[in-house]
Symmetry: D2
Subunit: 331 residues, 4 copies
């Protein structure tokens, strides 16, 4: 009915919204037998599909988890393993080097704003390879092949480790620089084969917060993410394949308003004939314009977030970090 655009960073939500088959968009859905996790793959194949979903051409993989909680650690492990599989699969499609030998991970967002801190938190939880390939310091070497002083404690293999680097550059308000600028410089110096970008996303539906993980090979575009990092991070702009991993942590205030107004009008329409007539007298564009005018301009920058956002970010950042580690080191 009222049909103005409400922003979501999730292709799967755009696809749901469009409902029905769209030319230039393929959808595949399945459920992992071992974890019970639902996956979907939206492929935007051409210009028409891109316009229909408002997203660039490419692949969008989505994992739908049950809400993570501290009391079900096994679910976190299953989620990490499932994510690792999808990272490996997508990374190998886009990267010339199938063995992922040199990867730079960047955590976008502001670590001082809880809902925007998923990227930096994930990087904090990552173990860059530097630790493993350099000689261990005297303080940590002795006995480190065992849990006690025995040697029976399983360890990740150290030999021939991929090179994992990571950077949380901070947001423009902290650095005065575009994130793209910082990364372009670092990439030129360090020449990784693949960039993995972690960012907090905005979803359409609050049930997606902390429960949906999106992987895409399209990079990050202006206007996406919680913090709205303006310049794009893509293969074209940076010169290397970019795999973006995002998890929604906020819903735009506009989306919340939109849903309620829509529901309200639908209800009035059902109950009162004269209103249906009035609404029908306005076409969709007129309705859009009306609501847009009525909304406070500040709403565009406001977001909605649940009170336990710290727990959500804490748990999800561990899963994403573990997923990346497994994708690279157990692949």
């Amino acid at each position: 009915m009222v049909d103005f655009e409400v922003r979501t960073d999730l292709a799967v939500e755009e696809q749901e919204h469009a409902s029905g088959e769209i030319s230039g968009v393929s959808l595949r859905e399945w459920r992992e037998a071992d974890s019970g996790i639902k996956l979907s793959e939206v492929r935007i194949l051409n210009e028409h599909g891109s316009e229909a979903l408002g997203k660039p051409q490419g692949t969008y993989l989505t994992l739908e988890l049950a809400p993570l909680t501290d009391s079900a650690p096994a679910c976190q492990s299953l989620a990490a393993r499932s994510l690792a599989r999808q990272i490996r699969k997508l990374a190998r499609q886009i990267s010339a080097d199938r063995r992922l030998t040199s990867v730079l991970v960047t955590g976008l967002g502001n670590r001082l704003v809880t809902a925007d801190s998923l990227g930096p938190e994930t990087v904090d939880n990552l173990q860059v390879t530097h630790h493993l390939t350099k000689p261990l310091s005297a303080g940590t070497a002795a006995g480190s092949t065992a849990c006690g002083q025995l040697s029976d404690c399983p360890k990740r293999p150290h030999a021939a480790l991929p090179s994992l680097r990571a950077l949380s550059p901070g947001v423009m308000a902290q650095t005065g620089m575009e994130t793209a600028q910082i990364l372009r410089g670092v990439i030129r110096e360090t020449r990784p084969d693949l960039l993995i970008v972690i960012d907090a996303l905005a979803a359409r539906s609050i049930t997606r917060l902390g429960t949906t993980i999106q992987l895409t090979d399209t990079g990050i575009r202006p206007g996406s993410g919680v913090g709205n990092h303006r310049h794009e991070l893509t293969r074209e702009s940076l010169g290397l394949p970019v795999l973006a991993i995002g998890v929604p942590t906020v819903v735009g205030a506009v989306a919340i308003v939109h849903d309620t107004v829509n529901a309200f009008l639908r209800a009035l329409e059902r109950s009162a004939a004269p209103i249906a007539a009035a609404m029908n007298a306005m076409d969709s564009d007129e309705q859009y314009e009306l609501i847009r005018e009525l909304m406070e301009p500040e709403f565009a920058t406001l977001y909605v977030t649940p009170p336990n956002i710290d727990e959500i970010v804490g748990l999800v950042s561990h899963v994403v970090a573990e997923g990346i580690q497994q994708a690279l080191f157990l692949g």
Copy 2:
């Protein structure tokens, strides 16, 4: 028009909303000559006023600041000084000991959620008197009466300092305990003369975020605050005078929705006669019920916050801490 209740922790917003004189409520507004800061005092004098504003009887002082920025430090100083005056005034009204010799400050909220961290951040910025009254350690004593090695550097007086204690107990999800329980125990042990409670509030209007400071002698009630600390912190429950200082950092998602729906309906009403008729066919209660039903139940717990909430909390927590310090030490 649509007139269902939307929560605000600010008495001044309830007063504005009611508009017009209310029996049992007195309002006084003025502007400080030296700082230009607007102040208002809402007094709820009896049961009728309490019901009309939905707040307990007592005094609500409000300071309205221009948004704080790093580039106008003088404004922060003026705000702190103005706040200090009001703290002193109100504290002396409610405390038997006019000299405020023993004060406990408690910062409510969750330090890991930016919008809820005003209380703990303020306590972090406070200097408890312990530092000043105990003998200085060897490491800091030498030359500490001067900036270089001269003795010309003005210092706060150390003699006869009030005793300032502070505690950020954390939220129930972190402690498993009611904040009221923790404080009751601590108060019984330390016997302060006055409790100052700092909390992040929910406002009705987004222009209030980080710009309005409310002081009240009514304490904290169930359901107020960002984190919704359930048991009350009042003179009655704790056995000592309680001065609460709050600053809005969020607007409830419900408020945002409400505003837009209202504006939407008003606009439709103006432009389309049949709708006005339809709306008029519903009375206010029916409208309320309709919207309530349409809203997702999760909305009640969601809040809206601006993207620069970290800066807002950072600046405001300094002003509030400085205000308390000045109230006690320069009084």
Copy 3:
């Protein structure tokens, strides 16, 4: 040779230092078959033993781990499980309620000083039972019994959970209050059956940093811990059984100096007869007095810590939190 006292919070180091059997002290050492972790139990049985080791009478259990690293997560799990066993064992000895139904955990120390933050970090990693026993909120309830939408994900049992509360009160420089005072108040209000105290300790040997976990039923005494929390936290002072868990994160600067001076003198003695003569001309007390005089008075407050202290605290706090959880919830 030079034999002045250097502080350690570890009974096992005092025992090693004393070397040989001590009347009033029993020592038992063993290695866990499944984890390879070395354990020792020092029991101070009477006044004589207490004076000999400079520690109060009671039981001191010590786990000696290999250094924890991110690359051997299985070791962390083994360490947590082993710790859980010892917590259960000791807790049941000292607590009337063998089922540990109501436990308060307190994390001592200053979260803003990395080496002193083990207590608060551990509490941050704990899951207080409140989360599990209250009805889950709408946002997290749906599907939370599964990882995807299936129901096959193993969870910790929710029924008949022990009540776990936790508090990080901060240090005196932040609160202006003795930790003992705060806890006494909270205990009086909440009446737990057992207090578990987590604190960062000072060791004698740098190889103990982050690798030794000490459990004791003697509580915390003045002068122990990194932050030197002055008033004691014991059964006598607080009125309930106290189980203290400590992990060394620092070595006193005095200990470092002492070791080198000692080694230096030993070497001189071996190589140069005249010095041996000179040293022999001084008795042990004279040597002690001489070194004491020569040391800067500030040394007493300084501590030595390794550069990767953030990683050590991060890893150990997870193991201790997990150990407590398992002790209570899987016991």
Copy 4:
């Protein structure tokens, strides 16, 4: 006497240690009339001076403050103003652009280790110019020219602001990259005129901790700083003038040991003739070798830090940030 090298990052300590005039080194000392702060300027003029002090040729400015405390805020302002003067002076000497129109500030060190967090903390306290030059958002614009709604609140001028950028890249254990690599890339992209590097230093004397600020035009060399950032950050390596600002937050454990051993031997020497003889039988190199052998190899990586290091870093990072702001914006 025993004369092995103990590391200090402060040229002024090397100069003191050498005691007496050194060819190729000039020393100037003075006291600021208005602040009472003691300043010294060590200039290393040629290769001989460089070898004598173990530091590269260049200028080393030192400010010696009284210990900063919260209770003497005026001292912090004086220190910031004095620092600003010295930054301007030195920056203009080394930078072609006397107006400092484009500056990149980088905070070295690990924000998760308190003693190593001075750089990141300072950057957190800086206000990058981006905030001031971009159009203010709707949420902060209204009324921001006043503290209340009046227009009398003094503000820093916005027009023709220098461009200030800032980055805290993290340490190699977090990024897997050399800091020099990251900065080289960022500098190539953003082309600033001057790099200001902030780092926590190691001093020889514990009285320097938090009280001495060193400015130098020689950049940062391998082995300096708390975190030992290995590759150099200099004009030669980065291609732009580099101004390094450092404040000691730690003393190497080796220095503490060295001082005591030295004092011990001196005392023995005075009191006992045979020891003097024995020591004299060893030459300085032999003494050095002996002590070196006796010291545990791990000592090299350990550092000593005072228990209130969080307060020291908090206060100093504000002064340094304010000093940089004033140097650029009030110059």
